[in-house]
């Protein structure tokens, strides 16, 4: 039997412990709220290969977790600083090494590392991992081509990437036309035509064939006109002021037909010819 004195001691002790527990829990909550743990992002500074070794058969789940961690930070209302973006890039890299097939990682790499992180080269390196593994998917290759064109202004590499991507079954015909456009912009109009011709020969549905046929015609017109401009320059020592000069000076009998408009667009400063106003 417990004595009354002992019961009082137990009650007092229990009350004291309960009060300590409640007070400490309330204070912890208050401090944790002020800390805003979502303001920074962190990752283990560990090589992706080491993570691959350590995670074994649970690598896909770990990849999902790392991606989720990066996305939770990026999706929060945080002011993203330079070092944070490097951590996010490291998380993407680790996630991609663990699961190189996951499209969501590839998508976020393109969305955040290039536009918000200004880490275009890093993004391209990571996108190449996705492109290698997702051999059925045209999107990673398209992103790489876009990054070379838009951010790095490297039309030659953009054309090469897009040409490879256009050959993936299911790639939309616009990729072929973009690849040809990049090839033309990098001064490889003949390559653009040859590539479009290959894609035309492979195309099965009629709308794609019509679309590619128009592109081939447009690029062939450009090739004819640019060759004529070079010939004009050789003959007269200066580049023509307009495309009409090519006809009036007898370099070509008539201007080729542009399938997308009235006339080809000519830049007298550079001697370049375009079939539309998009640059």
């Amino acid at each position: 039997m417990l004595k009354v004195g002992n019961i009082a001691v137990y009650l007092l002790l229990s009350g004291f412990l309960m009060a300590a527990y409640v007070t400490s829990a309330v204070n912890i909550d208050r401090f944790r709220d002020e800390m805003s743990p979502g303001e920074t992002v962190s990752t283990l500074i560990i090589a992706p290969e080491a993570l691959e070794i350590a995670s074994g058969e649970f690598r896909q789940v770990l990849a999902d977790y790392l991606l989720l961690k990066a996305c939770a930070f990026l999706g929060g209302r945080n002011k993203i600083k330079g070092p944070d973006m490097k951590v996010v890039a490291a998380l993407f890299e680790q996630s991609l090494h663990l699961d190189p097939y996951f499209f969501q990682t590839c998508y976020y790499v393109q969305a955040f590392l290039t536009w918000r992180g200004a880490m275009v080269e890093k993004a391209i390196d990571l996108l190449k991992i996705s492109r290698k593994h997702r051999y059925w998917d045209w999107q990673p290759g398209y992103y790489i081509g876009f990054d070379y064109f838009y951010f790095l202004k490297d039309n030659n590499k953009a054309a090469k990437q897009l040409m490879e991507t256009a050959e993936i079954p299911g790639a939309p015909p616009i990729i072929s036309s973009l690849a040809a456009r990049m090839a033309h912009k990098s001064g490889q109009t003949e390559l653009a035509i040859a590539f479009l011709q290959t894609m035309y020969d492979r195309a099965k549905d009629e709308s794609t064939r019509t679309f590619l046929q128009d592109r081939i015609k447009a690029h062939t017109g450009i090739l004819v006109l640019e060759k004529a401009v070079r010939l004009f320059r050789l003959k007269y020592g200066y580049i023509p002021g307009s495309l009409d000069d090519l006809v009036s000076k007898g370099i070509i009998p008539e201007l080729p037909e542009n399938p997308y408009g009235d006339r080809y667009i000519y830049e007298p400063e550079t001697g370049r010819v375009f079939f539309d106003r998009i640059r």
Partner: protein
């Protein structure tokens, strides 16, 4: 044969009645249920996340059964001398080994069937509750069954060396530690050798690579049984590869059982 079947039945009943199994089943059911919540956190290729979680829970539950139930049952028999009561009767030692392994295999098979059904149920519930869920590329039920079967085969291999370590070691913890190390090596050795041979990460000496390749003949290549990525992304499964992997798993398990029997025959237990 009758004796083996008798021991198999006893082990199976012993395992099924265990509270550990109930705990593992409860935890797995909770994890399967969490699949819906976790899949909802992703935006693209959600079907892949659903498959990842489902099959990872299946693997985790199978491993828990081996580590906490399988090793425990055999270790309890040996260290509490219960095994002496069995082998003093008209049971030979190899009958004991086969009977115990058969019982544990039956437990694993039952668990895999039930958990596999729960995993499929979680996929079905996910497809109803997760808005805009995209099923994995080239999703097929036969591919799911193949993935579950190879997961079971991988667990049989793990159980065969868990059995071996339980018989040779003096403590349950040592058996668990050895089994875990072998499981870990079995999953990562192939990756390590590939990384070293690739030469991108570290400059490894040829003798080290040779050593690792040599020990890869001893440790099982458990990553070969892991078809989760193939299932999640609809990657083609070569039937010849699957056939050889099945032969590899079965032959490794049988060899381990033979080694276990050789050690057990020489061991002074009673």
């Amino acid at each position: 044969m009758h004796n083996i079947w008798l021991l198999t039945k006893v082990t199976f009943k012993q395992g099924i009645r265990s509270r550990i199994l109930a705990g593992i089943a409860f935890l797995s059911a909770l994890l399967f249920a969490s699949n819906i919540a976790i899949t909802n956190l992703f935006a693209i290729e959600t079907g892949k996340v659903m498959v990842d979680i489902g099959f990872s829970v299946l693997s985790l539950a199978g491993l828990s059964i081996i580590f906490f139930l399988g090793i425990g049952l055999v270790s309890h028999d040996i260290h509490n001398r219960t095994v002496c009561m069995v082998i003093s009767r008209p049971f030979t030692r190899w009958q004991y080994i086969l009977g115990k392994y058969g019982g544990l295999t039956l437990i694993l098979l039952t668990a895999t069937v039930i958990l596999g059904a729960l995993a499929i149920l979680s996929f079905f519930v996910c497809s109803l509750l997760v808005p805009g869920l995209e099923l994995p590329r080239d999703f097929s039920w036969p591919a799911i069954l193949v993935t579950i079967s190879f997961n079971f085969l991988s667990l049989l291999v793990v159980m065969s060396f868990a059995f071996f370590f339980t018989i040779i070691s003096s403590s349950i913890y040592l058996a668990m530690l050895f089994t875990f190390c072998t499981y870990f090596i079995g999953h990562c050795l192939e990756t390590i050798v590939k990384i070293l041979q690739g030469g991108h990460f570290v400059d490894a000496s040829p003798s080290l690579v040779f050593f690792l390749k040599t020990i890869s003949w001893i440790f099982p290549n458990l990553s070969a049984f892991d078809l989760k990525a193939s299932m999640a992304y609809g990657l083609p499964l070569d039937p010849v590869y699957l056939g050889w992997t099945a032969v590899y798993g079965c032959s490794y398990s049988v060899l381990m059982m033979i080694f276990t029997f050789i050690v057990f025959r020489r061991r002074d237990i009673c």
